[in-house]
């Protein structure tokens, strides 16, 4: 996180100059947003913790109450989306905030959450074996997965998109990739998509998206492709150098993964998401996380209860 320090320093300098120092740390997610907006960057909302929640029909909730804390599965390597600062162990990002928002509605404070980093490959296992109560981590809802886990949401409509350098002129969308070098993760869905002959792109396949972003910054590749949410996170991390094209060419509705048979909890989370979309909390979360990438807010898709 090289750029973060100068950016923070700049923000502090701005604060000092304008004389509106406001007590430094403002609550959650020790991530000081970089340059855009500087001192008056969008702030994260605070969540009111509900009192006396009773969901006796939900085995997951009963277990969590007994335990005295909620175990939430998340990603740890996606900046501004699902991120864990390795030095402070502080979690931050859009998915993390959605999880906190739901937790507050369930009556759990920030300190009553235990985070578990769950890798993409073992999400179904972690949920069905009850290792996590619910999971928020770029988890695309599909029928194959619905056989194994339950989904609340969708809370965000992602889609494969392209991350390019800010000064890129020739790439305007998926149809302008002929002969361009595009990077993605080995064996991933977006990679399989971009390999289709109609795009005519040359692919570079690496192990981590951060490696791809590195290659993009050093001009080894011309674009990085994966879900736009992940790309927006990298663009928010580096808003002066990177941008997301904003023309998604697949559909990846993200849902909150939870136990397949816990319909009570599923409905509760659906209501929670709906409620906070209406009262503006959801939008505030977006503005303070993925919104920093410069990609403007889009209202989430309608909840699909089942």
């Amino acid at each position: 996180m090289k750029f973060r320090k100068p950016a923070a320093a700049a923000a502090i300098a701005v604060l000092a100059l304008t004389g509106t120092a406001c007590g430094g740390k403002s609550g959650s997610a020790g991530d000081k947003p970089p340059a855009p907006g500087g001192a008056n960057a969008p702030k994260l909302p605070t969540y009111t913790v509900a009192k006396n929640v009773t969901l006796n029909a939900s085995p997951t909730f009963k277990k969590a109450k007994k335990r005295g804390k909620l175990v939430i599965g998340a990603k740890a390597d996606q900046p501004y989306l699902g991120f864990e600062d390795q030095s402070t162990k502080e979690r931050s990002g859009f998915d993390i905030e959605i999880a906190r928002m739901v937790a507050a509605d369930l009556g759990f404070t920030k300190d009553q959450i235990e985070w578990k980093t769950v890798d993409s490959g073992i999400r179904e296992t972690a949920i069905s074996k009850g290792q996590v109560d619910y999971l928020v981590g770029t988890y695309t809802i599909n029928d194959e997965r619905k056989k194994l886990v339950g989904f609340a949401g969708p809370y965000y409509k992602a889609g494969a998109d392209l991350l390019v350098r800010k000064d890129e002129k020739s790439i305007t969308g998926p149809d302008s990739l002929k002969g361009k070098k595009v990077c993605s993760i080995k064996g991933s869905t977006p990679l399989a998509e971009i390999k289709k002959p109609e795009y005519g792109a040359k692919t570079t396949e690496l192990a981590k998206y951060s490696d791809c972003v590195q290659e993009l910054l050093t001009k080894q590749v011309d674009a990085v492709t994966t879900d736009d949410a992940i790309l927006k996170g990298y663009a928010a991390q580096n808003p002066k150098k990177l941008k997301v094209i904003g023309k998604p060419f697949t559909e990846e509705p993200y849902g909150v993964g939870l136990n397949k048979d816990d319909k009570t909890l599923r409905d509760f989370i659906n209501n929670s998401i709906e409620k906070h979309v209406e009262d503006g909390t959801y939008k505030k979360i977006y503005e303070a996380t993925l919104g920093l990438s410069g990609s403007s807010y889009v209202a989430p898709p309608a909840i699909e209860p089942y």
Binding site: G121, K186, G187, T189, A192, T204, E205, L206, T218, Q220
Partner: protein, 215 residues
């Protein structure tokens, strides 16, 4: 079985990829390794130093780190636009060359010093002595350890998959992403590797038999 039948062409591409990067790196490693072994036993101090430095550096660097350097650093500083396949082969070849060098050198050390002295007294130069007297005798001894080195090289080539080279292990990633059960996937990948490594040990056994001499 399904996973193999449904995606056989991808499996085949991966298998051929592993085979080809292994073969290319093996050639690089063999050539460089023998040259470095020559350096290390030569009477010229700077060459000896160079050979020792080469082995020490490459043998003690994790292979993944070498791949990282080859993929992210080399194109930026030296050769922009080099293909990942070439970069990967070089990383793998250089790394393995240090092991080949040490195997060859230990083979050379087993040739009695009297042999080299006799050659010298017949008026042979250092390189003639090495080529016609020492190396042919050393080769026999080097064959078994070389076989192990090349089998290890085959398995190490799996790392290249994370650096944009199409190879067998990468097939597993795509298949897991498509939601196939993990055990059969790994079974097929393992069988793919076994075919290659068995072939290597078979070839080396043949060479060993051909080179046998009565002692």
């Amino acid at each position: 079985m399904n996973v193999l039948l449904d995606h056989f062409s991808a499996f085949r591409d991966g298998f051929i990829g592993t085979l080809s990067i292994t073969a290319v790196s093996a050639v690089i490693a063999l050539v460089l390794g023998v040259v470095m072994a020559g350096f290390r036993v030569s009477p010229v101090p700077p060459l000896r130093f160079f050979g020792t430095a080469w082995v020490t550096l490459l043998r003690n660097t994790p292979l993944t780190l070498l791949f990282l350097i080859a993929t992210f650093v080399v194109p930026e500083i030296l050769f922009p636009g080099m293909s990942p396949y070439v970069l990967g082969s070089l990383a793998l070849g250089f790394y393995t060359s240090s092991f080949v060098c040490e195997a060859v050198r230990s083979g050379i050390s087993t040739v009695p010093i009297g042999q080299a002295e006799a050659a010298r007294s017949l008026g042979m130069t250092f390189s003639q002595t090495l080529r016609t007297i020492v190396l042919p005798q050393a080769t026999r001894i080097v064959i078994p350890p070389l076989s192990s080195i090349f089998i290890a090289l085959t398995k190490n080539s799996a790392i290249a998959g994370a650096f944009s080279v199409v190879e067998l292990f990468g097939w597993q990633k795509s298949m897991s992403d498509l939601g196939y059960a993990i055990v059969p996937i790994f079974l097929w990948v393992a069988i793919g590797y076994l075919v290659i490594t068995f072939a290597i040990s078979g070839i080396f056994r043949l060479i060993e038999r051909r080179m046998e001499v009565a002692r």
